[in-house]
Symmetry: C2
Subunit: 374 residues, 2 copies
DNA sequence: GCCTTTTGTGGTAGCGCTACCATGATGAGA
DNA sequence: TCTCATCATGGTAGCGCTACCACAAAAGGC
C-alpha cells in the first residue's frame, strides 16, 4: 500500500484513509506547500501567477514544484474555480461526415477545458426559437453553430438578445456581434479552380452548393474569379445548382455530363456532390480522372473512402470547432467586465489535397466530345 | 441574483454566500435530490447506473433530472471519484466511415466519464507488441480494440498478461479473459438474406469481407444458412471475396455483375463494398434497385449519403464503443477486489434498415436472365 | 508619534460529487 | 419467534483546489 511515509504520527490514521481513497499517488498542492515551507494558498498564488508573492517565496515554491514533479489537478481547479461553462452545439441536418468531424473537435476541446458540451439537433426556424430560449433559461451560456444554422440571422440575433454567446463555424453572416471561425472560402475555391486550369482544362463545370448558405456563394465567386483571371469563358450551362447533398449532386452532374460539349472537369462545392459526380461519370462509362476530372471541397471522410479518392480542399473542421469552444470560453471569462461581445472572427488555413480524381484532359476525351459515348 | 428561494431561514446567509461563489446557476445533484425527495447519494447512484435503487425511486430521480435539465459536473465527479482512468483505443486501418462512428462513441463516453482517451494507430503484430508494452508502462489501464485488432489472439493475450483491461468491439475470439461488445453477426446476415429472399430473389450474390476478421466468416455463415433454409442453390460463382474496402468491393462486384447469369441481388458484407457495387451497377447501366438489389451491412454514414440509399443492417457502433468504455471503467473500479477480469460479453441488438436499394426482381431483369430457373 | 493604507501570508469554507460506512427495513432460515 | 443476511437509502467526510476573509507586518500620511 502506498502510505505516505513522512506523515507525522498523529495523522497516520488519516493518512491511511487518504491513501485508501486516492488510487494515484500524484503530489498535491499540500505536498508542495510542505516542501516549500509555506501554505497551500501561497502555492496556489504562484501557480496562478499572482503578483503579490515575494520573490524569495516564489522561488522556493517553484523549486518544490520542480522537485516533486507536481502537476495541478485540472478537475479540482475547475471545480473550485467557480463557474462551469456550458455550451450547446446545435446542428440541423448537415452532411453526416461533416458533423462527426465537427463534434470531434468540440468534444475534445470541451473535455480539455472542463466545459460541458450539450449536443442538440435543432430544426432551423421551426423549433430553433423556443429551443434557444429553453437552453438559455437552462443555464447555457454559449452556442456553437455550424452551417446552415450560422446562416440564419434570426438565430444569431436571438442568441445575442437573450445574452448568449454565439460562435459560427463557417462564414455565416458578416454583420452582428457573434464570433466566427472560418476559412477563406473564396480563396480556396479560387485556388482549386486555378489548380484545375493548371492541369490544362478549359471547359470546367461547377456545381453550386445550397443557395441559402453563404459559403455556396463565396465558393462560386472564387471559381468565377479564377476563370476570369485565366480568360476562360464561363457559360451558364457549366454552372449547375446543387444543394450540398449527394442526390442533388447527381442531378447537377447529370446535367453537366449531358451537355453536347461537356466539360473536361467538374468542380463540386462539396465532397458529397463530387462523389455523386464521380458515380454519374462512371454510369456514362467515363473514367475518372482520365476522361473527366472531378474535384470536391471539405475533405470529409467520404473523399478518401470512394474510388478514385477525391482531390479536394481540406477544411480543418476539427480545429475550427475547437477554436470555437475556446473563443466562447474566452469571452465568457471577460464577460462581467465587457458587456459586449468582442465579435472576433478567426480565419484558419485550408489546404488543397491532391488525390487521384484529377488529371489533364486527354486527347481521347477531347475526341469523345464529338463522338457519341461508347 | 439567483438565490435559491426554498432555503430555510437559518441558512439564508449561507445561501447568499453560495450564490456569490457560484457564477453559474447550473443545477447540482442536491437540487435534483430535493426535487426527487431523496438524498444526493441516491441521485448519484441513479446517474452511475447502479442497480440497487428501487424502480420507483429511480423514476422520480430521472424525472427530476429531466425537469431541471441537470448535467453532472464532470470536474466534481472525477475529483471525487479518485484516480483518473486512461484508455487507449487502438486501430489498424479499418474502413474510414466505420472508424469515425467508432471514435464518436468512445470519445463521447470518455468525455462524459472524464476518462482520458488515447487514440492510436497500431499496425497489427508488427508494432503492436512494443506499443502495448509502452502504453501499459505509461499508465494506460484499458484498451479498446476494434476489428481487426480484436481478431488477434496475441494482442489480447499480451494485454491481459501485462495487467491491462482489454475490450473487443466486434466478435473477436471467443476464448480469453477479455471483454467484448458485439452484435449477433450471424443472425443479422441471416435476417438480411431472408429479407432479400422474401422480395423474390433467387440468385443472390454475396461479397465476403476481409477473411482475417471473424465477422466476415460469421456473416457468410448467416447468408449460407438462410439460403439453405430457403432451399436456394449457392454456386461458388455467387460468392466473391472482398476486403471490406470500397476498392475491393468494386472488384468483387465486377466479378458478380460480369457473370453470364448474373445475380438479381447482391448482399455485401459492409456498406463500403455495397456502395462500390452500386457504382459498378451504374457503370453497367443497371438501375438500382429496379435492375439489381444491393444491400449492405453496418449502416455507416456512407449508406445514407449515396443514392439510392442502402438497405443495410444497422450496427449500433456508437453505443457499442460507448459500452466498451463503460465496461473498462466498471472493471477498473472493481479492480482491487477481483483480480481477474469478469470477461463480460455484451450483445447489442441490430436492426434491418430498409431504404431504397432493394426491390423485387423485375420481369425485365428476369427476361434478361434468358432462362429463369424456377 | 498615531492612524491609516498597503502587502504578504495563512486559515477556513466551500466547489459538486462519490467512497464508505451506518441505518432501518425487509425477507429468509433456524 | 429470533437471528442473520440482504437490500435500499441516508449521513459524513473527503477529493485538490481556490475565493474570501483575517491578520500581522511594513509603509506611508498627517
Amino acid at each position: 500500500m502506498a502510505v505516505i511515509m513522512s506523515a507525522p504520527e498523529e495523522t497516520v490514521k488519516a493518512e491511511r484513509k487518504r491513501a485508501a481513497r486516492r488510487k494515484n499517488a500524484a503530489p498535491t498542492i499540500a505536498d508542495v506547500a510542505h516542501e516549500a515551507k509555506c501554505s497551500p494558498m501561497t502555492v496556489s498564488r504562484v501557480i496562478n501567477g499572482e503578483t503579490n508573492v515575494r520573490d524569495g517565496t516564489r522561488l522556493q515554491v517553484l523549486t518544490a514544484i520542480e522537485k516533486l514533479k507536481y502537476i495541478p489537478n485540472r478537475a479540482a481547479r475547475s471545480l473550485a474555480g467557480g463557474a462551469q461553462l456550458r455550451i450547446a452545439l446545435l446542428f440541423d441536418n448537415p452532411s453526416a461526415s461533416y458533423l462527426s468531424e465537427f463534434l470531434m473537435g468540440a468534444l475534445e476541446e470541451a473535455s480539455r477545458r472542463d466545459i460541458h458540451l450539450l449536443v442538440q439537433s435543432c430544426e432551423i426556424s421551426r423549433e430553433s426559437e423556443e429551443m434557444i430560449r429553453n437552453l438559455v433559461d437552462g443555464g447555457i451560456e454559449g452556442f456553437i453553430l455550424p452551417p446552415p444554422l450560422c446562416d440564419d440571422q434570426a438565430v444569431l440575433d436571438q442568441i445575442s438578445a437573450s445574452g448568449g454567446i454565439a460562435v459560427a463555424v463557417g462564414p455565416g453572416r458578416a454583420e452582428g456581434s457573434h464570433g466566427a471561425v472560418l476559412i477563406d472560402e473564396y480563396q480556396a475555391a479560387f485556388d482549386m479552380t486555378r489548380h484545375i486550369i493548371g492541369l490544362g482544362h478549359e471547359r470546367i463545370g461547377f456545381i453550386v452548393g445550397n443557395p441559402e448558405q453563404v459559403a455556396s456563394g463565396q465558393r462560386l465567386q472564387g471559381f468565377r474569379s479564377a476563370m476570369e483571371d485565366a480568360q476562360l469563358e464561363i457559360s451558364d450551362d457549366l454552372i449547375a445548382q446543387g444543394q450540398f447533398t449527394y442526390r442533388s449532386g447527381m442531378v447537377a452532374a447529370e446535367k453537366l455530363l449531358g451537355l453536347e460539349n461537356r466539360p473536361t472537369a467538374i468542380f463540386a462545392s462539396n465532397d458529397d456532390m463530387a462523389a455523386a459526380a464521380v458515380a454519374m461519370a462512371h454510369r456514362r462509362h467515363l473514367d475518372v480522372p482520365n476522361d473527366i476530372t472531378v474535384c470536391g471541397f471539405d475533405d470529409t471522410e467520404l473523399a478518401s473512402s470512394i474510388w478514385p479518392e477525391l482531390t479536394t480542399i481540406r477544411q480543418p473542421i476539427r480545429e475550427m470547432t475547437a477554436q470555437a469552444v475556446s473563443m466562447i470560453a474566452k469571452v465568457y471569462k471577460l464577460r462581467p467586465r465587457t458587456k459586449r461581445m468582442p465579435a472576433e472572427k478567426m480565419t484558419l488555413p485550408y489546404k488543397l489535397i491532391r488525390r487521384n480524381s484529377d488529371a489533364g484532359p486527354s486527347l481521347i476525351s477531347s475526341f469523345k466530345k464529338l463522338a457519341p459515348e461508347k
